[in-house]
């Protein structure tokens, strides 16, 4: 079995990371009743017997001694990481996995990327190397960060390019939190666009998530649980926003939203960790969903958001789950995939679902979903037999859809509004190594990305003729 390393950078990244490890432990505790350190646990955790000399790493099959997360935590201010180290998850991380500084990046991408990037380059590479050495067969790096700030955005993308340099063969999957329009950081458009250029260059897959969508999902669930009708009582631990059953006791603000992203990561890796009749490995995701190297932005959607407390699940509920995955309300960015053109789509099903159910639903949904002409049957499917905690089955849909270009166009507009006036530009240009040309390069990269998506989108609805086949002379 393969291992994955999770790297979280910046305040947002580390907060989500903290929720991720909590929920991961909860999930494995649910499944692993015997307390043995099995292969599934091994994909995210190391088993360490600290009584032994030189690290004391334990092999698969033995009892769980002490689990250490395969993670690297990076933040340029100490607040969040310190809180993690004081909380119930402190045993999971040792000091070789942490990199902190004191003063933060001041919401400035250039400070994160250029200044801290060069100062801490050696240390970052060193910590990544150490984490990689503990792995038998490293398959994937997961990077979690936000785009709007300074550390997550700037230093996070620097880490991404270092990963590309040092470990070019290892898959890089990035979860990026995009700022909403009403973000309180004024320079977030600059930071986001500068970071986008790096993501397009160096990542294998990016899963963009918008804060606004997370807020709407949280509100919807809270509204559901506040109506007192008996048939709509939600099972406590089932909501995608709930951390119930995990280690952390009280719920902090943003926890609900962060849990959604943490669940996203858990579901993506479920098929690689657990058994199933149709396994979908992480490298298969990139292979099947990325037809052109730059168009690697995959829209995630998770269903169901919660399970109602009464248990029976008729087939209609199952079909409803599939329909929901393609509705606007369940997407993690504010775009409507049905308005765009699907380039490829992956369905990762967890739980007690048969191959025939999956095929039936694909047949049912296909007519209403526009697919690009050369990929009319562009479905990649995976079946994992272990459902997530609190559910009997769940579905994660990852779609490569041209509607993502509307998000990028909005971002570009916000950027242009600031850049036209050269507002706040001096903060960036003061930084060593930063030049104004980088701004125009970044917005140029974004524009050409939008253009690539647009060209494909323009073919929607048109009947594209089949390419003429090769003729064999007789």
């Amino acid at each position: 079995m393969t291992q994955s390393i999770v790297v979280h950078v910046g305040q947002c990244g580390n907060q989500i990371g903290c929720r991720f490890w909590d929920l991961a432990l909860r999930e494995h505790a649910h499944v692993n009743k015997e307390g043995l350190y099995d292969e599934a646990l091994g994909s995210f955790f190391r088993n360490v017997d600290s009584r032994e000399i030189n690290g004391g790493a334990c092999a698969v099959g033995g009892r769980i001694q002490q689990l250490k997360a395969r993670a690297v935590l990076v933040d340029m201010e100490e607040g969040v990481v310190n809180k993690i180290l004081q909380g119930p998850l402190r045993e999971m991380f040792d000091s070789t996995q942490l990199l902190t500084d004191v003063s933060g990046s001041g919401n400035n991408w250039a400070v994160g990327h250029m200044t801290y990037g060069s100062v801490y380059r050696e240390q970052i590479v060193d910590k990544l190397r150490k984490a990689a050495e503990h792995c038998d067969c490293l398959q994937c790096f997961f990077l979690i960060h936000s785009m709007g700030g300074g550390t997550g955005s700037g230093l996070g993308t620097k880490v991404l390019s270092l990963l590309n340099e040092e470990f070019p063969d290892v898959c890089r999957i990035v979860s990026s939190i995009y700022p909403s329009a009403e973000d309180d950081v004024v320079t977030s458009p600059y930071n986001s666009v500068l970071a986008m250029m790096e993501l397009t260059e160096h990542a294998h897959c990016v899963m963009p998530v918008e804060n606004q969508s997370l807020v709407e999902i949280v509100n919807k669930i809270k509204q559901m649980s506040h109506t007192r009708r008996p048939e709509s009582v939600i099972r406590g631990d089932s909501a995608v926003i709930s951390g119930q059953g995990g280690l952390s006791g009280t719920e902090k603000p943003f926890d609900a939203m962060n849990n959604i992203v943490a669940n996203l990561l858990l579901n993506i890796t479920s098929s690689a960790r657990f058994d199933g009749s149709l396994n979908m490995d992480l490298n298969e995701i990139a292979m099947n969903l990325v037809p052109f190297p730059r168009l690697h932005y995959l829209l995630p959607s998770l269903t169901p958001l919660y399970t109602l407390a009464d248990v029976s699940v008729p087939t209609r509920r199952l079909d409803q789950m599939f329909s929901d995955a393609f509705s606007k309300d369940h997407q993690l960015i504010r775009a409507n995939p049905k308005r765009g053109l699907y380039l490829a789509c992956a369905l990762m099903v967890r739980g007690n679902v048969q191959m025939s159910d999956l095929r039936r639903n694909i047949e049912r949904l296909k007519p209403s979903l526009p697919f690009v002409s050369w990929n009319q049957e562009g479905w990649k499917t995976g079946l994992c037999s272990v459902p997530p905690v609190g559910h009997s089955h769940s579905l994660l849909a990852l779609a490569n859809n041209t509607c993502v270009m509307s998000t990028f166009m909005e971002l570009r507009e916000r950027f242009t509004k600031l850049y036209r006036k050269k507002a706040h530009l001096h903060h960036y240009l003061h930084v060593e190594g930063m030049e104004q040309s980088l701004f125009s390069e970044a917005v140029g990269s974004l524009s050409s990305l939008i253009e690539e998506y647009h060209l494909l989108d323009a073919t929607k609805g048109k009947l594209m003729p089949d390419a003429p086949r090769l003729c064999i002379a007789r």
Binding site: D281, M287, V290, P291, M355, K380, L470
Partner: protein, 484 residues
């Protein structure tokens, strides 16, 4: 003489154990006689304790499936895999043919060749090698092609049969058509015969004939194993004088792959009934053969829904075209009959005189253009007139091969896999033309937009290689569609 099987990828390692299950049951049944001994020699070697160990090598890039197959075989109590006959890595090929062919294949070449060599050395005489794989994924297709190439290099005078499973048309993997085209183009140069099963067809057999409600891959694999085993189990050729064929793969290839441009073989078996109805069904050779012949001509793989209107065109109408009027032209056919009274089944030319003896004929089967078909069964009479199957009729075949050369038949009196009578037809015909054409069409459309190509180029395949493969397969399609 023995066959060494190489199971590649998830599909190969799931079909393989089902195949050995079916075969081993016969080996046990025919414990004391020549048939059982032939089965045992062909597929297993016996340890000093009398255990049957399959002559097989298991290869996959990730360990889960092989572990499952090996432990399942061991639990059967009848046969098992060799302890050291397996090779697996930790990380799969990611559905990427180029990853399998250019990276994993060469990297593990020595280990795999060593495993095969050991198996081959355990055989007294090698009849040939069979590779079992799928074409949609990365390991079965990519590593499978590379391994076939190594086998061809190492055993240049042995027969190599590739058994391929084609995926569902509506897709299990998005890049399956690319992987399929690349695999087929390469295998065409390397293999002696390519035997194909399509998931779609087998799925229909499971749902319509076998009445399975929730079809799983295990059900599909069982049907594939049944059909494949009915081809590979020992049988007697016409001139064999009572000795079970010692060169099955060679005879198969000799009978069917008569021309290097025509290597695609498909299989059809009848009857296929749910095991619950087997006790209530009786079969007769004339009826089975009649159905099988029409299944061949109209290109159906099931006894249900056969189009009896399709018939071979009259001599003057011989033109080549893509399945004109639904008629499936054959190059060569191999009929294998197993079971009771098998020597009484006649398979040659239609005897038109039989039409005019209404009183004394107990069983009469006649084939008349226009759809009428009557079959009267009266099994009270012990001596019945042998009925005809009409497989040697020249109208079924291409004009440049005489029908006596094009048709062969094998027989075995031993019942197969719980069926009292079983008829299998392996044919080299236009049957696979439509699915192959669809597959290439979709792959070509994708190639024209250059989609996913960068994924393959990272591992060393160029656009030129793709074009070469497309050209080869278009050549095959052209050859088959112009058969007349």
């Amino acid at each position: 003489m023995s066959i060494v099987t190489v199971q590649l990828g998830q599909c190969g390692n799931q079909v393989g154990p089902e195949l050995f299950d079916v075969i081993s049951r016969d080996a046990l049944q025919g414990e004391k006689n020549a048939f059982g001994a032939a089965v045992r020699e062909r597929f297993f070697h016996q340890t000093s304790r009398g255990e049957l160990v399959a002559r097989a090598v298991l290869v996959d890039m990730e360990p889960k499936v092989i572990n499952h197959s090996v432990s399942r075989a061991a639990k059967s109590g009848v046969w098992r895999y060799g302890d050291a006959s397996r090779f697996s890595e930790k990380q799969g090929s990611g559905n990427n043919w180029a990853n399998g062919y250019c990276v994993h294949g060469p990297r593990h070449r020595d280990v795999v060749e060593e495993l095969v060599r050991r198996e081959v050395e355990r055989c007294d005489r090698l009849a040939g090698l069979m590779a079992v794989m799928s074409v949609a994924g990365g390991t079965g297709s990519g590593v499978g092609t590379y391994v076939t190439q190594c086998l061809r290099d190492t055993y240049p005078r042995s027969f190599i049969l590739n058994h391929l499973t084609w995926p569902y048309g509506t897709g299990e993997v998005i890049v399956q058509n690319y992987n399929s085209v690349l695999t087929l183009a390469h295998l065409y140069q390397l293999s002696d015969a390519i035997l194909v099963h399509e998931n779609d067809t087998v799925h229909r057999i499971c749902s319509r004939l076998l009445n399975i409600q929730h079809i799983s891959f295990a059900d599909v694999n069982r049907v594939i194993a049944h059909q494949l085993a009915s081809v590979l189990q020992p049988a007697l050729a016409a001139d064999s004088r009572g000795v079970y064929g010692r060169n099955p793969l060679g005879e198969l290839a000799g009978a069917l792959s008569c021309h290097p441009e025509y290597k695609l073989l498909s299989v059809c078996t009848t009857p296929q009934v749910p095991s619950s109805s087997m006790a209530y069904s009786t079969f007769s050779w004339p009826s089975l053969l009649k159905h099988l012949r029409q299944m061949l001509i109209s290109n159906t793989k099931m006894e249900e829904g056969i189009d009896w209107q399709v018939r071979p065109p009259a001599g003057s109408e011989r033109t080549g075209s893509l399945l004109r009027s639904g008629f499936n032209r054959s190059l060569a056919n191999l009929l294998i009959l197993r079971g009771k009274d098998v020597y009484s089944a006649e398979t040659g030319l239609i005897d038109m005189h039989l039409l005019f003896y209404p009183m004394h004929i107990k069983e009469m089967v006649f084939f008349v253009g226009g759809g009428g078909s009557g079959a009267l069964h009266d099994t009270r009479d012990v001596t019945y007139v042998p009925s005809t199957g009409g497989f040697e009729e020249p109208a079924l075949y291409t004009s440049w091969l005489p029908s006596e050369e094009a048709f062969s038949s094998w027989k075995s009196p031993v019942p197969f896999n719980k069926y009292e009578k079983c008829a299998t037809l392996v044919s080299n015909s236009q049957a696979l033309l439509r699915p192959l054409d669809d597959m290439v069409g979709k792959a070509w459309n994708m190639f024209a937009s250059r989609a996913y190509l960068h994924q393959y180029m990272t591992f060393g395949i160029s656009e030129e290689d793709f074009l070469d493969s497309f050209t080869s397969i278009e050549q095959v399609i052209s050859s088959y569609s112009q058969l007349h």
